[in-house]
Symmetry: C2
Subunit: 380 residues, 2 copies
């Protein structure tokens, strides 16, 4: 038992060092950083190579002396499948252990009024295509993670207001694949955390609904039950427009995708960027109003959470040019610390794909966190 857990510990320790290194890392440096002997490191690296988790890479020359062979995360075998069920689309993506996106697909399809069972059924086909695409590249998808725009606890969606779901039990599999579920904004924040250089930020996920993921010192802040970050239901006008959630004046009613599109009198939100670029007055007014509402809600959030940066994701990312000025004006006025420490506002690095990439990344990250468990699971 002790022997087993020591091996598990050492596998995880070595793999973590490989994953944290931006360039291939030599076994000698792994030994130095881990305190393990070079012989132990070599044995463990061999085991990780046999399991398809790491590879030898080009020699890493970082100083004087004899060049040595470096070890890097393998992009050749284990992979994760990310899926997203959102209000007006389904998305899938496959990422390998090295974090590269190896397959992606978005299916535009309105989920409002559809039953959860119909949504799983609709997801089965793109999921199967993703598995086939992974297999064609020699990848083996270990498991899947599905992002939902709702509050989830113990395999139950309590509520996903914009899907119209209430108390929905979640399946253990999509097709034949084992799947986990998570909140879309939290998963997007997780994806962004691994793609950008910030370690503390509020990730704002703009879709039909608006959610947020709170990252403090590289950790997701989930609240006591995992329901933190419901930015879309922060009140910006107590007597304002009614919201699907039953409240009034929620941020979503001013800055959600439908709200911006309707105020701009556009039939399709995809036209927003072009219309804004063309200087269409109704579009610019709608974006100004959305930016002001976002600025009010984000100021309250920064006052409560003390976060140094806000990342605009989802449909907010391509609209950042027009949203940032009114957001920044509100932050300057309303954030108590703005005078000496103004929060940075910027668009997401991953854009609309942050959620589905973040979902896939939870699968590969779980393998990196506990390689012994993964290796046991693939043993024939």
């Amino acid at each position: 038992m002790r022997q087993t857990s020591l091996r598990a510990h050492n596998l995880a320790l070595v793999l973590r060092l490989v994953a944290a290194s931006p360039t291939p890392i030599s076994r000698a440096r792994i030994a130095g950083a881990s305190g393990l002997t070079r012989a132990t490191v070599s044995t463990i690296v061999d085991e990780l190579i046999a399991g398809g988790l790491v590879d030898f890479a080009d020699e890493s020359r970082t100083g004087v002396g004899r060049p040595s062979v470096g070890v890097t995360l393998a992009g050749t075998r284990p992979a994760g499948l990310g899926m997203e069920v959102n209000v007006d689309y389904l998305a899938t993506c496959v990422i390998d252990l090295a974090g590269q996106v190896r397959h992606r697909e978005v299916v535009l399809s309105d989920q409002r009024g559809r039953s959860p069972a119909a949504a799983w059924e609709a997801l089965a086909a793109p999921a199967a295509r993703a598995l086939a695409a992974a297999a064609a590249q020699g990848l083996v998808v270990h498991s899947g993670a599905v992002a939902l725009p709702g509050l989830i606890e113990d395999a139950v969606v309590h509520v996903a207001p914009n899907l119209g779901w209430h108390r929905v039990a979640l399946p253990a599999r999509i097709g034949d694949l084992l799947v986990d579920f998570g909140n879309e904004a939290n998963l997007a924040a997780f994806g962004e955390l691994h793609a950008c250089e910030l370690s503390s930020f509020l990730y704002v996920s703009g879709e039909i609904g608006i959610g947020a993921g709170i990252v403090v010192n590289s950790e997701l802040f989930r609240g006591t039950r995992g329901w933190a970050g419901e930015l879309g239901h922060v009140t910006v006008d107590p007597a304002g427009k009614p919201c699907r959630c039953g409240s009034r004046g929620c941020l979503e009613q001013y800055a959600g995708e439908d709200a911006i599109r309707e105020a701009a009198s556009l039939p399709d939100a995809a036209e927003l960027v072009d219309r804004a670029k063309a200087g269409d007055e109704a579009t610019l007014a709608s974006l100004g109003r959305a930016g002001l509402a976002l600025g009010v809600a984000l100021s309250s959030t920064v006052n409560l959470l003390d976060l140094p940066a806000v990342v605009l994701g989802g449909h907010f990312a391509p609209l950042a040019e027009w949203l940032c000025p009114p957001i920044e004006a509100e932050l300057r006025q309303r954030v108590l610390t703005a005078r000496w420490s103004s929060p940075l506002i910027r668009p997401s690095v991953l854009g609309a794909e942050a959620t589905v990439i973040g979902a896939a990344r939870t699968v590969t990250q779980a393998i990196i966190n506990d390689p012994a468990r993964y290796l046991a699971s693939i043993r024939p």
Copy 2:
């Protein structure tokens, strides 16, 4: 070196078990829970007794068999001095290691327009009286902690809007006593955490200003720089009343002590409870408006932070009877999770003293966390 740190570890381990036990705990049970030998436990307990940190107490009979002598935190020697500089009063208190309040004093005195230096000078006399009162009871005050209604970092107050302080360097001592500084709402939340049975809650500190302390799983959430919890500057009406912070429509302008008093046309906030009990219409209307504003701001906070409970502290505690109904109505309407998990709202257990008790408690808790360091500091 190893020997020294092992001793420090064992001292802390034993003292933590004693502190966590609601009744006196026997050395045999300490040995069982810590994995230390009974001989080691006896040596460590003797050392803790010599340092005045624990005492033997009445026999603890918790089962069949021979009764054994229990160990409990000592209330006889080390103590902490808590101090508070707030807008219209100064407060001090002494607590012993067992958590008992051994001295308390509140001096009503308006600090607005006073210089920080004048505030330290004004604090020196009640601090000296507290030290004398402690000495008269055989207690030795180890150090002090001062609560301020502002944003503090590295011994500088960036801003304390209601004191009118900006970029104030903090002194290392008040009189001859070494002191630390902290945000008043955070310290009040820390005090309340040790006095109530909740482990996750938002502590709302109502004074002239309004602050909050965020407690998640028995830990204070401080944000990235310790500035989290600025509930008083959450916007409840974007176009509302101007606030001292430079913004508009901040919660403070509707539910701060001055705001409630002025809207009730009272010269003194101390009359609020009596007027409300007497059914005075202007007072009830003002409390209703404050409750509504609190309900809006707290709903946004719960949506963002996923906290299961809100504790009303400071001047809100005695007003809870009138504030709770409108707060609860807003939470029911505005909190996304309220339909299946409604947040608990209740007044603070410690009331107006939470802040100064919490400040004093940081001193005694630091001793409990690192007894070896304390014992080294008192060695003659």
